[in-house]
Each structure stands twice: as structure tokens, then as C-alpha cells.
Symmetry: D2
Subunit: 332 residues, 4 copies
């Protein structure tokens, strides 16, 4: 089986394994161990500014713990109608934010522009009867594999600031966006207040990082993380994964590999592509018969509605598999 | 340093590592993988009845997801005043149970008897002004390392049933209790509705099991687990840890080793012991000077109030370290 | 000033005042007084079946306490995108339902058909990643003053039943719907599980009724009402309002008066009407200049977007004022 | 029946009725009416400083909305073990504060001293595993009818400030405390951040005031009030009650009358009194036989445990009834 279902269950990178094994010896519990205490500095170097970093096991927890520092229970978080936090997190924001509302905006490619955000929030009356927006969350790369350019994030950040909105980025595939953009990570994160920095989909096992720009927000999130049962006692194994990723730019190497595989397939898709491929996901117009044909050749992928399919590459997608899929699509 | 601070940060057992490595190849995400799908059967064999099992990363999450199936937001959970869920989980039950209340009971050794429970709930007026009890939670082994006998659990279960209370066991150190009691696991769990089955403190890395007797409760908990950000996409690595533990009774071997080390130290403590040692924790009367002396010899442990210390052994506590500590205490 | 802004701040009907004054003498507190204890029977007679009735002070509380009996915290409530619970209750459902989600459906006139409901819920994958629908809530009369016919409610109820959804009706203006439909109240409530029966907008002061078909749901709501701070100690004054309304069909007389005033104005609006007038609200296409002209003549009303206005009549709208407004609109 | 069960269901004072009737004519809805807009000034004059005031229907709602501005969901509120918010509000703080914890302190007469508060919070470890205190709530007069002296409140306020705790007063019977203390209201409220100012027990019908010292907290509470379904559309009737109370010191006159009746009974109780009578509640040692005898003479009151009774006087307790009760107790 040549697997293009998702990157979320891929194997763990050998260097991540090595780092975890190296962390086996007992150290202080929770995040008092030596590895966890190195995270702020390691991510600070990456983002070229002081940050405070918390590990958690999942992207859902990362997103929600970050958002809970930006939006009170009676407030709202603006996000795309197809954002992962709205569609695929089982209402976790409602849980973590104590009933706060997701205010849904529309935008091409599951991305939002300032105009899209304004269209969602300008109609909200400034009174106590309507839920007021308190934060903005966007996904980098987006749910359709589109990457925000630095200037787009700056424009969103400026709007957020002018409206008093906290700014969060769901970076479950942040690495793929940075690899695509070729810019410094800080630019790919724009002027956000908190970033969910993905690792699991990129060769990690069970660690994501929440990168906070505001230490006070991070301090708050520490209490909330424990309260949510996400403070693991052997947290050193999560820190080890994250540090291994940053070490020698493994995170970027992995993302580049996934992106390269996606690009190779994209080249074969031509007009079939529903969205430009700017990360490691492809949304491809394919009839049911065509999908059957591909599956018959051993390719695994999800249907995307009636007339399309989604393919996702991973850090360990084999060059040969990508080329074979590209050829198979081209041959349809 | 000879470490007796806690078992919660100990190294991971080699067979757990092996099982995790063996799970590396991509499988279906979340809990759709082959290993996760084996959990019900494996734990069913252990408990000699049908059960439904969910993995989560922490004991706090296990406890809270279990309790959330037994108590509504407007209800209360009876527990010991020194229960972990009351004292050391940062208010997680308040979060997961949406403001439900912990109704605190007193009992010797952090254990509860039916009389203790009645003393806590009988004064509650049966009207809408007071929070009504809906569940009972006890810890096996208790926060003071005491183990409930099967007949004690049966009596608690009978009371719970007669009062319409769900019955939960926090088994963060369930293995140590079973190893101490020498009875079948089912008897050490009594007639509970849900059990948090600990693994992390017993040689695991990042997996605990919630064992549900009622499949409907488990189905509910599945939604809540995802909603809490605890559904890891590479869940196979959690399942692997749990299965490795059950394989060949590793969980019992590990617990027996920890208990044996504790017993050896206990023998040296005599009258200093504040509680009988029925698992792997020791609470020992020691003056500040005595504690200083022990620390001077390289032993690590926590103070317990002004005049005592807590020692915890782990699956990998070295026989030599336990003996040396025993000798040092005896020589005080 | 001839006021057509809303019915929600109108004067209290004299018979309601009389009933409140008659309730002045101390009685048992909360809902243990004689008047509160008569509610089940009085509403039971009205709806021709056994019901359990709780008073609360506001429609928001009524809606949310009802819905909280039908949908768990991890679930979703299907409602119209312009439903009051979505648009004008400050996120109260998120608060009362502990983060449950409103699943938004579209439908003409702020009404929903079974097809509309299906269009909203059929795309929801039946897995733990997406919030599953647990309840349906519709507004009778709708937010655009449209009344559901009994057969429409029956069809919705049948769908709800087949999908396992609880069925709630927000009847803030239920009286106006019944007055319009001319059918027995039970038919205007359809096969719902719980009805928020409005009184404040219809000549009451501070009382709404939640009518439960299931006594167990009502019992649950009693705890939740107290927990929400809605159990008033002098609850007899709320019961008095509700009983006064039912006495001699005052509730219907008041609604008929409001509807008649609305109908008179509607006749003058002709093509200007955006929605058929089936209760006591009118949505009328009027340019800014026309609205200025009407306001210049002393009429009070809200703008409705750029090119329309909303007029609401009340139980005490003077016949003369309605006629004058009708004439003024006709003369534009 | 001579009623001493509670003041919470007493008749409404005629001047409150008059004020409500005078408010009948339609005005702007919610709290945009002329009466609601006078509250800040009226209470500001009473407390001799700028305040922001919100009406709500119940003391439970007042307490919880106030506390929700002082304590985050992951925090704790220190209160007496017998505080109304702990014992008799059905877990409402857990609901409104999203799972925040009540940290229980002990103190004589249901009052707290700084030492009592310290005894409750000093043992709390300053780490993420334990719920940290964020606010302090005391009851004036206390649940045993004891009134805090101004200097006692100042000492509590100083402690609260030094520990970073918000300071709330549950003043369900604040009027009785002020009447007893004979000091300016501001001194009876001490340096609190928010006060629940009771009216219902003191001759009102359905209005309590939350008096905020911090306008930002009040602004937050406005959203939360609506979100909790406590923003009544005919709010003018609540404002009318509160203004009637303040007008000509009716609130103090009513409280003085209740206190005087209590004092008359207290004089007859002598050694039977469990607590000094500093408001309008009496806790009196009476055997079951004595209680039977009193009930046989037509007095209504609650048992208080096995060997005592609670008597509560109200604004309209008849002088003759108080004297008769006093005589009957003296004659036992």
C-alpha cells in the first residue's frame, strides 16, 4: 500500500527516537526536567525573540490552551468556516474556552484576509446581546494546504491589533509552510500572540509546542494545561521530541521532503488541482472511476466530496511512491 | 543520588520501549490501529469480564474522563479530603465535570469506609439548594499507600449502589495494590464502574488506561477524550505501552519489585512508620536533622510536613539502594 | 411617541398586576408556594396532557434550561442561523450547555423544514472528531414573525425522533403564533419535548414558563435553575403572572390584540412586506428617506438593514396608533 | 401562624409596590431605561464614591456574577465552610466560575478573620498542581447573623490585597448589618471590590444589586449577566425596587424593624443564644420538646440541628408577634 491518507500517523523519525531514548534516565518530573527547561531558549533562537514554550500531546490541546489565553468564556474567536478547530476538534474550543463561540468567516483556500475577517465581525452589534470577537485564529498552512505570506499575516495582525483581537496561529503544518515560503520562521508566524507549532505530523510521536510571545499568557496556560490533564509527569520525552526536531533543522528537512513529494505529484495534476500546492496536501479533482483506478493500483487516500480526493505526503513519503502516484494520475 | 522522590518520573521499562519501537510503522490513526483495537480483549482477560478500554496520557485525564461519565455538571463526587483529584489535579474535576463539586470525606490512611462516606453525604439535604452526590471515587492504593481489601471495596460498592452513586477507582498505583493484595485484579477493583489503570508510574512512558465496565460510558468518554485534546493521532504508541505491560504480567512484576523495595525499607522504619506500607510509598517520621542526615548520604525524598518524609520506590529502584536506605534509617 | 420598537418592554397587563398584588402575603419560598404548585395543572389543562412547568425570569434562561436537558456538553443543537439563541442571547447556550455547539441551518423566514435540518446535519461525519447533533430548536413564531403549522411541526418532530434529537421550541411569541393559527396550543407546540412559553412580551412582567413533557427532564432543570441563580425566593410572583395569563385566556386575548394591530399595518404595506405577517412583527421595505418621514411623524421602530424596518406590535398597541401607522405607510 | 421561618418570602413593602407601579409605562428595554440609569448615582451617593451597579433577580446570581469578575476558571475563592455560596447555592459558583473551586476556611460565627483565611491558603503550594486562591468572599451579616466591624473588614481587605485576592461581600442581609453597626454603609462594606447588596429579604420582590467598585469589572459582568439569562427586558421594575429602597432610607428602616424584633426575642433567650444577635437571625438552643411547645403556640421556625432552632425576623414582623415569641421562650 502506498499511503497518502495523512501525515498524522506516519512513523517517528529515527533522530526523534534517539532523542527520546537519550532522555530515559529519570529527571525532575513534569516540565522541571533539563530538556523542558531548554525549550524557551531553543525556540527563542528559532524565532529570534524571547518566547515561552509549553509542550502538549496534541494539536487540539495546543490550539485550545493557546486560545484560552486570548478569549474569555463570553467571547468569540474568529476563524475560517473550515478551520480545524471548528470542524475536526469535537467542540474542544467550546470545552477549553468554557462556551466561547467560534465566529465563522469565509475565505478562499481556507485562508482569511482582513476583508474576510471584517465581513464576519463588522455586523456584530457592540452590545451585550451578541458575542463579541476577542481573538483571531488562522491555520498555517491552511486546511487546503495554502500558506500565508508574511505580508498577509502582517495585515491580519494589524487588523487584529486595531480591533483588540488576540492572534493565534494553528501551525499543525507550520513546518511545511516555512519550507514552502523559504522565509525565517518568525515571518511565517507573523505578529501572532501564540503559535501551535506542530511536530507530530512532521516526524514526531506525541509532542506539539505552544509558543507564547507573552510570558503572562504562558503562565496562565501552565495552570490550564495541568487542569486539562496535559501535564505529563515524564514530560522530558515530549521536550526531547521537540528539541530533536529543532536540532540541525530536522523539522525543516522533514517538511521539505514532504513538500517535495507533494510538488512532484502536483506537477502531474495540472488542471485537476483545486488549490495551489503550498505545503504537503493536494486536493485533486478525480471522478469516482478515476479514484477506483488509483486505489486499484495500491494508492491510499481519502475521498474529498463526490468529485475529488485528498492526498497528503509525509516526511517519509518515498520518492518512488510520489513519482508512481504522479505517473498514475498523469496517465488517467 | 539515590532517588526516592517519586515513581512518576522513573525510566521506561525496556520491554515498553521495545513495544513502542515495534509500533513505529504507520497504522490507522487515533485508536483505529491494530494495537488500540486489542485493548478491550487484553484487559477483558485480565479482569475476567467484558470491558471497554481507552488510553490517555495522564492519570488526571483518566480520572476526569471516567468521572465525567458518572456525575453531571450539577452533581457531586464523594472523595477523600486528601484524594489526588482534590489536592493535586489543579481543579481538573471542576473543568472536566463542568463545575461539579468534590464532596470531601475523612478516613484513616486516605481510605474511605462506608461510614466515612455516609458521614459526608447524609447531612446533605435532598433539595435543589445543595449539591447532590452522584459518584464515589476512591484511590487504590490510597494516597498514603494503603490498599483496599476486596471486601472493603464490596462494601463501598454496595453503599454506592444503594445510594445511586457511580463508583470510580483512581488506580494510579493499582498495580502496587494488586501486587500487595495478591488477589485477582478484578477483586482489587471491586464492583467499580470505571477504573483508572495506572501505567506511567509503573514503567510506562505516557499511557494510562481507563477501564469501563459499561460500554455506553466508554462511548461517551470517547467523545469527551477527543474534546479534551487527548485523542492522539499516533495512539498506537500508547496502546503499545499498555499491551507491553499486560504481556507476561510485566505490570505485576514491576509493581512487585517496587513493593519489595518499599517493604525492605519499611522493615527498618519500625515505629517511625505513619501508615502501614501496603504498596510502594512510605511515610516516615523523621526530624529535620534526621532528614538532613539522610540527604547528606545522597538520598532524595520529599519532606512530609514538619516531622516526616515521604519515600517512593519504583519498578527500577535498585535493591542496593533500598537496602542502603533501610540501613541508614535504622542507624539514625 | 407611537412605539413599535418592540413588545419586550411594554406595560404589564392590569390583570397581571392584580394577580401579583394578590400574591403578596408570605407563602412558602421558592416554588413551594400554592401558586407555583398550581402551574403543572394549569398548563396541563392548556396543553391537554400532563406537563411539568418551571418559571424563570427570562426567555434566555427558559431556552437554555430546556436545551440543557436535551443536549450534553459535547453535543450540538440544530437551530436556524438567525435563531434568537444563536444571535441575541450572548452565547448563553454555550454557557448553560457547557460548550455545546449550535449547528446552524438555513431556511426561509427563519423557519426550518426537515430538509433544512437534514442539510445541516447530514454532512456531519459520525465520528468523535465532529460535534454530533443531539437536539433541534425552532422558534414559534419565528424571528421573522412566521408561524409553524401543526403539520410542519409534526414533520420536524418525526425527523427529530428518527435522528435521536430532542425537540425544543422557543415560544417567546408562542401566544402570537397560537392566535394566528387558531389551533389548540398543543398543535402549535407539535411533538416537542420542551417549550419556552413566553409571557413577558405578552403583558407579563418577569415570568416565562418552561413546559416539559418529560418529568425527569423537569427534575433535572430544577437543579440547573437553582444552580443558575434563577430560583427566586418569592417565586409566587412569577407563578402569579403565568396563572393570570392563562386565566380566562388572557394570554390569547393579548396576543390577538397585538396580531390584529400587526395585521392592520400589514394591509397597508402590500409589496413592501418582506415576510408574511403571521404574528405581531412586520419587516417592511422602506428607504432611509421613508423611515425618516415616518419617524418625523412620531413613529418609533428599528431599522432592519439598509433598506427596511422592523415594527412590532404589543398587547397594548392602540388601535389608533396602528391605523395611523398603516395610513402613514400607505401614504408614502 | 406567627412566621419566623425566613425573611426570604416576606411580603413586598408598599413603597416598593408603588415604585413598581410607577414604572409601568414602557421605557427602553433591559437596563437602558431611566430608572436603571439612575442606579450608579443613587448607590454612589449611598457609598460616597463612584460605583457601577447592576441589578439581578437573586442573591445567587449577584454573588456569582460578582465572583466571576474576581476569579478565573482555574482559580479558587476563599470562603467560610458554612458560607451560603458553598452550602446553599447548588454549586452555582462552580457553574458561573466554570469549575473554579471554593477554598473553605473555618471561623467562629461563620465569620472569617485574617488568621482564618491564612490557615486556609498558606498550606497551598504555589505550583500548578494546586488551585491557587484568587478571591475572598465573606458574608455581611454572616450566616449566623454576625456582623463584621469596619476594622475587621479593613484587616481582611489588607490581607486580600497583600495576597492578590479580589474581595467580595455577600450582602444578602447587608442592610441588617448596617442597621446593627450604625456606621456608614461604606464602612460596613469595607475595602471590597464588589458587594451583593440584598433587597429581596428586606422588603423587595425580585431585585438585588451588585455594586462594583471597578467599572471594568462591571462591564465584564454585564456580558456575563446577559449570558446567564439575567438581563430582564423590563429591567425597570428591578431598578424601581432598588431605588425605592434607597429612597428615604427605606432599606435601613426595614432592616431596623427586623433587627429590633430580633433583639426583643434575643433578650428573652439569654444563655440559650448560640451566637450574639447582630442582625435579624437568632440561633437558639431549644430541645425538641421546647420546639414542639412553641410550634403548638403557633410559631413557625426551622430546626437547627438536634438541639436548636433558627428564628428569622423580617421588615414586617409584627411587634406583637416578636413580643409573644419572646414571652413564650422566656416561659419555657
Amino acid at each position: 500500500m502506498r499511503q497518502f491518507l495523512s501525515d498524522n500517523a506516519a512513523a517517528v523519525h529515527p533522530r526523534v527516537w534517539d532523542a527520546m531514548r537519550a532522555a530515559d534516565e529519570a529527571d525532575a518530573p513534569y516540565d522541571n526536567d533539563a530538556l523542558s527547561r531548554r525549550l524557551d531558549e531553543a525556540f527563542g533562537a528559532l524565532f529570534e525573540r524571547e518566547v515561552t514554550v509549553l509542550w502538549v500531546a496534541t494539536g487540539t490541546a495546543a490550539n485550545c490552551l493557546a486560545l484560552a489565553t486570548l478569549c474569555p468564556p463570553h467571547g468569540g474567536v474568529v476563524c475560517h468556516r473550515e478551520a480545524h478547530i471548528e470542524v475536526d476538534e469535537a467542540g474542544a474550543p467550546g470545552f477549553y474556552l468554557h462556551g466561547a463561540k467560534l465566529i465563522l468567516a469565509d475565505g478562499a483556500g481556507a485562508k482569511l484576509t482582513p476583508d474576510d475577517v471584517r465581513a464576519a465581525i463588522d455586523p456584530i452589534r457592540d452590545d451585550v446581546h451578541q458575542v463579541q470577537p476577542h481573538a483571531l485564529s488562522v491555520t498555517q498552512a491552511s486546511e487546503y494546504g495554502r500558506s500565508y505570506r508574511p505580508e498577509e499575516l502582517n495585515a491580519l495582525g494589524a487588523l487584529a491589533k486595531s480591533r483588540g483581537l488576540g492572534f493565534h496561529i494553528d501551525g499543525a503544518r507550520f513546518a511545511n509552510a516555512v519550507a514552502f515560503l523559504g522565509c525565517p520562521p518568525a515571518q511565517a508566524a507573523g505578529p501572532c500572540d501564540a503559535l501551535s507549532f506542530g511536530c507530530v505530523k512532521n516526524g514526531g510521536m506525541s509532542a506539539e509546542a505552544i509558543v507564547f510571545l507573552d510570558p503572562a499568557a504562558a503562565a496562565l496556560a501552565r495552570y490550564r494545561r495541568k487542569r486539562a490533564g496535559h501535564l505529563q509527569s515524564k514530560g522530558r520525552f515530549l521536550a526531547a521530541q521537540l528539541l530533536a526536531m529543532l536540532d540541525g533543522e530536522l523539522w525543516l528537512d522533514n517538511a521539505r521532503a514532504a513538500n517535495a513529494a507533494a510538488a512532484e505529484i502536483a506537477d502531474a495534476c495540472g488542471e485537476r488541482l483545486m488549490h495551489p500546492v503550498e505545503a504537503n496536501e493536494l486536493f485533486v479533482r478525480l471522478t469516482a472511476a478515476e479514484r477506483d483506478a488509483l486505489r486499484g493500483k495500491g494508492f491510499g487516500f481519502y475521498d474529498w466530496g463526490e468529485d475529488a480526493a485528498r492526498f497528503v505526503t509525509a516526511w517519509n513519503t518515498r520518492e518512488e511512491d510520489a513519482r508512481t502516484l504522479a505517473d498514475a494520475i498523469a496517465a488517467l
